[in-house]
Amino acid sequence: MRIKIIIILLFITSIHSVSGQVLSSSGRLMDDGRFAASTKQVNQFFRRFNAEESKEGDVRYYSDNENYRNRELRKSFINILFDNETSDIPVELKREFLNTVISESYPQFLNFHGGEWFAEANTVFSYGGKSQEVTLFLKLQPEGLGYEWVIENVNFEPFRIAFDKPEGDQKKFLHPLSHELGFMNLRKAIQDDPKPESYTPKDFDPDYLTLFIFEIKKGNLKFETVKEVKYHFFQIDKWYFELSQFNRPGFNTGWLISNLVKLGDGDRDVIMNFIYGRK
């Protein structure tokens, strides 16, 4: 364990080796190593995770380079890609994850275009005269000659509480001979009952994205700003991790793994429901 810590420290120190003076020969400020160590872009997270760039981040390794996806380099990189200050991911779990992804027989890499990862953007919209938080879930999809990010799902409290379908004895219904009366009882169902969702099929699942677009087009939802973005990854077989940005003093900063879960049967659905704010 001690040796491993020393190796990680040596690795981080080597990233910092450019520091020493305040100004470089070009008259620019010298980084004391913090910016070099920081995982500055999500792109850099991918490259570090796969060992597709140099320790300093200034050389991109392509498949014809001998260091491309080097196992030892990956090991060093992945060790510094965890949030070590606030996330409290157990050391043993990190080690198991590391051993899984750098396995000699079945190494696993992240693929920008490989799907199985998506963004969660916490935004603010003006709605009903006040600023309210809206969570948007975005994914990359092929389009035209390249790729684009698209909004795949929305979580918005006013939409969620608007649909509260009663169950059991509480649920009202259109009786089975309503058709004989030409559904005249729809008036009571829709106009008088504050919960018209009672009259929907068992598998009714409100489409918040459609509502979201509709409300924007009607001018009721107005974009204000983005507060925070994080990413959810299911690309590694039987693992889930969350990627968040840490803007703080020190060397453990930038885009780092903030949550890590080893997935058992059915766990993926549980996590997806949690992320999407479903019951």
């Binding site: 500055k40 872009q41 991109r60 920008f112 603010v124 000659l145 390249g146 790729y147 204000e224 703080r248």
Partner: protein, 191 residues
């Protein structure tokens, strides 16, 4: 402008070694594009320093703002957030420069860190390529009368658009890759 034409020709000569007809960007071409993009980012850094300096005359600052604006694609915006407020405030490029010029400090010193990071280039639906260059800036402003002494370090994530264009040189049609700057995300850091 002359400098960019020279850079474009260098970029052309660098890229002509690889199959120019292809739309894929080879590592050699990517490196040449990175250099041109970095040159534009360095110019932007220089312009920001001139615009922010109290020693710069208004007319000169206006001229430099015009030059700086030319680096950007139309509709590019700055999105600014601070440590205390993670919400993004949006400014048109020109407005951002005007705010910078109007800062009420007796002395302003803007310096840049000797570190940058360049992303891969990704192709967007219209066929253009897009990338992001990250640089770090330190701002120091002092106002003797008000006793103000403000300092911050910001991370600037600068969008670059890379597009294949054509030009006529001595009657010949030459294809080259041009770089424009796009939206810039400015994040205050804890450094």
């Amino acid at each position: 402008m002359k400098k960019y034409i020279l850079s474009l020709l260098i970029l052309f000569s660098a890229t002509s070694m690889v199959a120019l007809a292809q739309d894929n960007i080879s590592p050699a071409r990517k490196q040449a594009i990175d250099s041109l993009a970095l040159e534009k980012v360095k110019d932007l850094s220089k312009y920001i320093s001139i615009i922010g300096s109290k020693e710069t005359q208004f007319s000169e600052a206006t001229r430099v703002m015009d030059r700086a604006e030319e680096l950007f694609a139309p509709d590019a915006e700055m999105g600014v957030s601070s440590i205390n407020n993670s919400e993004i405030a949006y400014y048109k490029i020109r407005r951002y420069f005007e705010r910078l010029m109007a800062l009420n400090y007796d002395r302003v010193n803007i310096s840049w860190y000797d570190i940058h990071y360049i992303s891969d280039l990704e192709r967007q639906p219209d066929g253009r390529y897009v990338g992001v260059i990250t640089v770090y800036q330190r701002f120091e402003g002092t106002s003797q009368e008000a006793g103000l002494n403000y300092r911050d370090t910001t991370k600037k994530d600068i969008t670059i658009y890379v597009e294949k264009k054509q030009t006529q040189i001595a009657g010949r049609t030459i294809e080259f890759w041009d770089v424009m700057l796009g939206d810039v995300r400015v994040t205050e850091t804890s450094a």
